[in-house]
């Protein structure tokens, strides 16, 4: 499977981070975490091409959209891609709970790193609650996102040459 469908799906998630949903302030960490989660899922699925430089580019796009420090979400997406790339032994139809557990670990790592990096960047201790809330929410959302990614992948495989000929 080439990188077109994964890239497009993550791009849509990136665009969704900029949509004014009217989310409360505590939930601002969730949309970009979904982007990282999608990168992780695509990389974790076997036989799927999602090169790390694509993760970097989409992370940079998230940074530009959010107006935050440039390179921050790119770094988080790269971490997601790196860890996701190392769990490819898990098939897409089995061991989902194990994948979920791995993501929970990644979410904690990203949360702690975000808090430390954010505090260092702004030279003050930033509020940890929105980050913790985002990490917890992303962990709870993981099965949904994984299901979407798997559905996209299966749809691509089944409809492959018929539907995606133009995109490939």
């Amino acid at each position: 499977m080439n990188a077109t469908v994964p890239a497009l799906s993550v791009l849509i998630a990136v665009l969704a981070t900029a949509v004014p949903w009217g989310l409360p302030g505590d939930a601002t960490f969730i949309p970009p975490m979904v982007v990282v989660m999608m990168v992780f899922c695509w990389r974790a699925l076997p036989d799927t091409a999602f090169p790390p430089y694509l993760a970097l580019l989409l992370g940079l796009l998230t940074d530009i959209m959010s107006g935050g420090p440039l390179g921050f979400w790119a770094l988080m997406a790269l971490i997601g891609a790196s860890v996701g790339g190392r769990v490819t032994s898990l098939a897409d139809s089995q061991d989902r709970n194990r994948l979920w557990l791995v993501w929970a670990g990644v979410a904690v790592l990203i949360g702690v790193l975000s808090w430390l990096l954010g505090s260092a960047y702004f030279v003050r201790w930033i509020d940890w609650w929105p980050i913790a809330f985002g990490a917890i929410a992303s962990t709870l959302l993981f099965p949904v996102v994984l299901r979407v990614v798997v559905w996209l992948r299966r749809g691509r495989l089944r409809l492959g040459p018929k539907l995606y000929r133009g995109l490939s």
Binding site: L15, A16, A18, V19, P20, W21, G22, L23, P24, G25, T28, F29, P32, P52, Y53, L56, G59, L60, I64, M65, S66, G67, G68, P69, L70, G71, F72, A74, L75, L78, S82, S114, L117, G118, Y121, F122, R124, I126, D127, P130, I131, G134
Partner: protein, 338 residues
């Protein structure tokens, strides 16, 4: 062959992993460099970002429209199913507001008479342009919004941004057709304010939460929850008298709850207030004689802008359109009935 290895058999190509690892390392290094450049505020990076946001503005606007429409519809449905108690509350509030209107008119007349007696010079009216929020650029470290107004509309860095409820923030980046507004509750937001009837001076800091932290108050300042908070204008950037919010909290930990709901912004107005500080930091591309609030007559106002004020509007129309009492006697109108 010894060891069972034949030169004709394919060997594991472990060496091919090395370029992959190197690439990964390079990408992580690129991120680190970008973070450092972003921290020191490299000009080229800012320009690139502004240019890109300008380019993607139509796409962002198109993407945001369904979400904004859905939000409006949800609010409408919510208002339809509002209980009768809400109608009673609104009726009572309307009665109260009518009394306030009467008192405000009296106060306005008194102020006009006193100004005439003192030969006071009228402050110039503030001009503004109104646009829409096209992207919610909020993250864990930043509270900002992108609006569909830019330098083509006369917007510059540092201008105050308000909505129907009060002050929202100020512009921090201005592209050709898009600007980024730093919201009041952002970590980097600091607004000098006046609190309550006594006009106690203080500084309202954003800390990424829904409310602002009120600090640098004089010793023994008598504040009460519910006191109104206005901009003082002492920073030379924001105009004086813009509504910010109300005091909450207790002594030692006062906070300000902004009037504007910063999580659901829609239409906002940018005030053309060219203080000398702004003129130095972001020189106007059009005219220099607009310092200290002048009309944006010679700025091009795009047709795409929903509403724009070219002629000085009356106080009433300012309140109706921009939604906040802006400088001049509107400030007295807002404060005098106490």
């Amino acid at each position: 062959m010894r060891g069972g290895h034949s030169p004709f058999k394919p060997r594991p190509r472990r060496s091919w992993r090395a370029p992959g690892e190197l690439l990964n390392f390079t990408l992580f290094f690129v991120c680190a460099v970008l973070l450092v450049l972003s921290r020191i505020g490299h000009g080229a990076l800012t320009e690139l970002r502004d240019g890109f946001v300008d380019l993607t503005a139509p796409l962002l606007e198109a993407t945001s429209k369904p979400a904004i429409l859905a939000r409006h519809e949800a609010a409408r449905v919510k208002s339809y199913i509002a209980p009768f108690s809400e109608i009673d509350r609104l009726k009572a509030e309307n009665e109260q507001l009518k009394q306030w209107e009467w008192r405000a008119k009296l106060a306005e007349r008194d102020v006009a008479q006193l100004r005439a007696l003192l030969n006071a010079v009228d402050e110039p009216a503030l001009h503004y342009v109104t646009g829409d929020v096209i992207a919610d650029a909020r993250g864990p470290f930043l509270r900002s919004a992108l609006i569909n107004l830019g330098r083509d509309n006369g917007v510059r860095v540092g201008y105050a941004v308000i909505n129907g409820a009060g002050l929202v923030g100020r512009t921090v980046d201005a592209g050709a057709s898009v600007s980024r507004v730093l919201l009041l509750n952002d970590l980097n937001s600091q607004v000098p304010v006046l609190v309550g009837h006594a006009g106690v001076r203080g500084l309202a800091f954003g800390d990424n939460s829904a409310e602002l932290r009120l600090d640098f108050l004089p010793d023994g300042a008598a504040l009460h929850p519910g006191d109104e908070v206005f901009t003082s204008g002492s920073d030379g950037v924001l105009p004086r008298g813009l509504r910010v919010g109300v005091v909450t909290g207790s002594p030692g930990a006062y906070r300000v709850r902004p009037y504007a709901d910063l999580s659901t912004l829609d239409a906002v107005s940018v005030l053309f207030f060219d203080a000398p500080t702004l003129t130095r930091t972001d020189p106007p591309a059009v005219a220099l004689d607009r310092a200290l609030s002048a009309s944006p007559d010679d700025t091009k106002v795009s047709d795409a802008v929903p509403t724009a004020s070219i002629e000085p509007p009356s106080i009433d129309s300012e309140i109706k359109q921009a939604g906040a009492p802006i400088a001049t006697s509107a400030e007295s109108v807002a404060q005098s009935p106490q």
